[in-house]
C-alpha cells in the first residue's frame, strides 16, 4: 500500500515537473524543475529496488550536471523577445521530433496494454542474494569490460578534444608561479628602516 501511494505521488510530481520544464517562462525555473524531475525519477528507481542507480542519478545528474546547467543559465543574459521571434522557424523540425517521440511512447504503451500489465521482454531478476551495486559491477567490469573501457576511451578523447578546442595561449599574460610565491622569504619582502622623527626617509 505504502509503495503504491509513493509510486503515484512520485509519478505525478515527475510528470508535472517535466511539463513545467518546458512551460516555465524563466529558464532558471526550468532548470529547477528539471532537477525536481531527476529527483523524483531517482525516487522511482528506489521503489523498483534499484537503489544504486537511484543514488548515481542523484550524484551525477542532480549533484553535478544540473549544477552546471544552473550555473550557465544564471550567467546567460537571455532575451525573451528574441527567443520568441525565432520560435516559428524551428516549429516544423520540433514538431517532427515530438511526433516521433509520441509515436514511440504510444507503441510502448499499446504493447503494455495488450500484455495486460504483465512485464514484456524483461527477464525476471534472479535472486542471487547480491546487492545491485555488486550486480552492476559484475556486468560493467567483468562481463562487458572491453565495451566499457572503449566507451570510457571515447569519452576521454571527447574531453581532450573539448579542452584542445578551447585552450588559448595568449602572449603577455601574467601567470602565477606558485613555487615562487611559497618559496618567498621574509627577508625578501620586509625591510626594517630606522626612521628618525621629523626627518622621514629622506
Amino acid at each position: 500500500m505504502l509503495a503504491t501511494i509513493a509510486f503515484y505521488v512520485l509519478a505525478v510530481i515527475a510528470v508535472i515537473s517535466a511539463f513545467a520544464v518546458i512551460s516555465a517562462r524563466n529558464p532558471v525555473h526550468s532548470v529547477l524543475f528539471l532537477i525536481l524531475t531527476f529527483f523524483t525519477a531517482a525516487g522511482l528507481f528506489v521503489l523498483l529496488g534499484a537503489e544504486f542507480l537511484a543514488m548515481l542519478l542523484v550524484i551525477v545528474y542532480v549533484g553535478a550536471v544540473a549544477v552546471l546547467f544552473l550555473f550557465v543559465v544564471m550567467m546567460l543574459d537571455v532575451d525573451f523577445v528574441e527567443l520568441k521571434q525565432g520560435f516559428l522557424s524551428y516549429m516544423p523540425i520540433g514538431a517532427l521530433i515530438a511526433a516521433a517521440l509520441l509515436a514511440e511512447l504510444g507503441l510502448v504503451a499499446s504493447a503494455a496494454v495488450s500484455a495486460n500489465g504483465a512485464p514484456i521482454a524483461i527477464a525476471p531478476a534472479e535472486n542471487t542474494g547480491i546487492t545491485n551495486a555488486e550486480a552492476i559491477g559484475q556486468v560493467l567490469y567483468t562481463d562487458y569490460l572491453l565495451v566499457f573501457q572503449m566507451a570510457g576511451l571515447v569519452l576521454f578523447v571527447a574531453m581532450i578534444g573539448a579542452i584542445v578546442l578551447t585552450l588559448r595561449h595568449r602572449p603577455g599574460v601574467r601567470k602565477q608561479d606558485i613555487a615562487a610565491q611559497v618559496g618567498r622569504k621574509r627577508s625578501e619582502g620586509v625591510e626594517l628602516k630606522d626612521i628618525r622623527p621629523g626627518q622621514g626617509l629622506g
Binding site: 500500500m1 524563466n26 532558471v28 550524484i59 549533484g63 552546471l68 602565477q176
Partner: protein
C-alpha cells in the same frame, strides 16, 4: 524490532501504519537531539574561538552563557522577514528551506550504534554523498534569487568550490569502500571494530600485518587529513569560507537574508558541519567503537550496548567539531585561486593515486597476508 510472543498491542494498527509511526518517532527523536546539540555546539564553537583569542566569549545569558544560542534563536525568529523588491520570491524563500531540509535528511542513514539507525540502506554512503552534493543548491538558489551582486558572486563561488571538492571527497570515500568492500555504513563501522589500529585513519598502528600496514596506514592517514580539509571546503568553513568572505563579499549569498530564513541557512550550515564530523567518524574513526576494542566487548546487555555506543559516537562528533572550531580560530583565509589549485591540482591527483594504491593492496597484498595466516 520483533516484539515478543506475549506482546499485546494497546491499539491494533495495521503493520504498515505501526512501522510508519515507529519511524516517525525515530525521526523526531534524532531531529530534536540534533537541534538541541546544535544549540550547544554553536556556543562551543564561539567559546573555542574566544578562548583562542583570549576572550571570554558569550557569558551573559545563563550560567557560562549556556543559554546564549536560545536567546539568539528568539532574536532571529522575532525579527521581520525582509524580502528585497527585485527578488524572485518563491526561490528566495525556497533556498533556506532547501538547505535546512537537506541538512536533516542525510541523518536518516547515520548509524549511532549497532542497530540504532533509522534506515540501514545498502548504499548508505552513496546516499550521504548524494545528499551532501545537493547542499550546493540552497546556496546557489539563494544567491541568484536575491537579485543582487554580492549574493550572486558568492553563490557562483560556492557552487564552483563545492563541486570541486566533491570530486576529491568521492575518491577518498572510494578508498574506504575498497578496504571494506561494502557501501553499508553499519558494515563500514563494524569493519573497524577491533580497536584504534583497525580504524581506517590509523591503520598504520596495525603492526600485526607489517610491512603492509605502512602502505595502508600512510595512505589512509593522508586520506583522513584530506577528507577533513575537503570537508572544511565543502561546508564553506574557514579557511575556505570564500562564498561569504566578509572582507570581499560582505556575507556572500546570505547578504539579503534576515530573520528566520537566515536562521534556517545558519542551522543548515552548522548541521552540515556536524554531518561531516559524523562522516569522518564513520569512515575513518571507527564509528561507535572504542579505541581499545569493539563496543560489544564491554559485555553489556543489548540496550546498554546501544546506549554506550551512542554516547561514544556522540563524543567523537564533539571531538571532530572541536577540530573544526580550532581550524576556524587559527587558520587564515585562503585566496580563491589557491583554493581551486588545492582542490584540482593537489587533492584530485593524490586521491586518485590513493585509490590505485588501495586497489593494489586489496587485490594483491591483503589476500596474500590472509593466505599466510591461514596456511600457518
Amino acid at each position: 524490532m520483533i516484539p515478543g510472543a506475549d506482546y499485546v498491542p494497546l491499539v491494533n494498527f495495521p503493520l504498515e501504519v505501526e512501522w510508519g509511526l515507529m519511524k516517525l518517532g525515530q525521526i523526531l527523536a534524532i531531529s530534536i537531539l540534533l537541534l538541541i546539540s546544535l544549540a550547544f555546539l554553536l556556543l562551543f564553537d564561539r567559546k573555542v574561538w574566544a578562548a583562542v583569542q583570549l576572550r571570554k566569549g558569550p557569558n551573559v545569558v545563563g550560567p557560562f552563557g549556556l543559554l546564549q544560542s536560545f536567546a539568539d534563536f528568539f532574536k532571529f525568529v522575532f525579527k521581520e522577514i525582509v524580502i528585497p523588491a527585485g527578488a524572485n520570491k518563491t526561490v528566495f524563500i525556497l533556498a533556506p528551506l532547501l538547505t535546512f531540509v537537506l541538512a536533516f535528511i542525510g541523518w536518516a542513514v547515520v548509524p549511532w550504534g549497532p542497530d540504532v539507525v533509522i534506515a540501514d540502506l545498502n548504499v548508505g554512503i552513496l546516499y550521504l554523498f548524494a545528499i551532501s552534493s545537493l547542499g550546493v543548491y540552497g546556496i546557489i538558489m539563494g544567491g541568484w534569487a536575491s537579485n543582487s551582486k554580492y549574493p550572486f558572486l558568492g553563490g557562483l563561488r560556492s557552487a564552483a568550490q563545492m563541486v570541486s571538492y566533491e570530486v576529491s571527497i568521492g575518491f577518498i570515500i572510494i578508498t574506504v569502500l575498497l578496504l571494506v568492500g561494502s557501501l553499508n555504513l553499519t558494515t563500514i563501522v563494524n569493519a573497524q571494530s577491533d580497536g584504534i589500529w583497525m580504524w581506517h585513519g590509523f591503520r598504520i598502528f596495525n603492526f600485526a600485518e607489517f610491512p603492509a600496514n605502512i602502505l595502508v596506514g600512510v595512505t589512509m592517514l593522508a586520506m583522513l587529513g584530506m577528507f577533513f580539509i575537503s570537508a572544511l571546503a565543502e561546508t564553506n568553513r574557514p579557511p575556505f569560507d570564500l562564498p561569504e568572505a566578509e572582507s570581499e563579499l560582505v556575507a556572500g549569498y546570505q547578504v539579503e537574508y534576515s530573520s528566520t530564513p537566515y536562521l534556517l541557512f545558519m542551522i543548515g550550515e552548522y548541521l552540515n558541519i556536524v554531518m561531516m564530523c559524523a562522516m569522518t567518524t564513520i569512515l575513518f574513526l571507527g564509528g561507535w567503537h572504542l579505541p581499545w576494542g569493539s563496543i560489544e566487548s564491554l559485555g553489556l546487555s543489548p540496550f546498554w550496548t546501544s546506549t554506550v555506543a551512542m554516547l561514544v559516537f556522540y563524543a567523537k562528533l564533539w571531538v571532530m567539531f572541536f577540530m573544526f572550531a580550532m581550524v576556524k580560530a587559527i587558520v587564515p583565509r585562503y585566496r580563491y585561486d589557491q583554493l581551486m589549485r588545492l582542490g584540482w591540482k593537489i587533492f584530485l591527483p593524490t586521491s586518485l593515486v590513493a585509490v590505485v594504491a588501495m586497489g593494489y593492496y586489496v587485490t594483491f597484498i591483503a589476500p596474500a597476508a590472509n593466505a599466510t595466516v591461514a596456511g600457518g
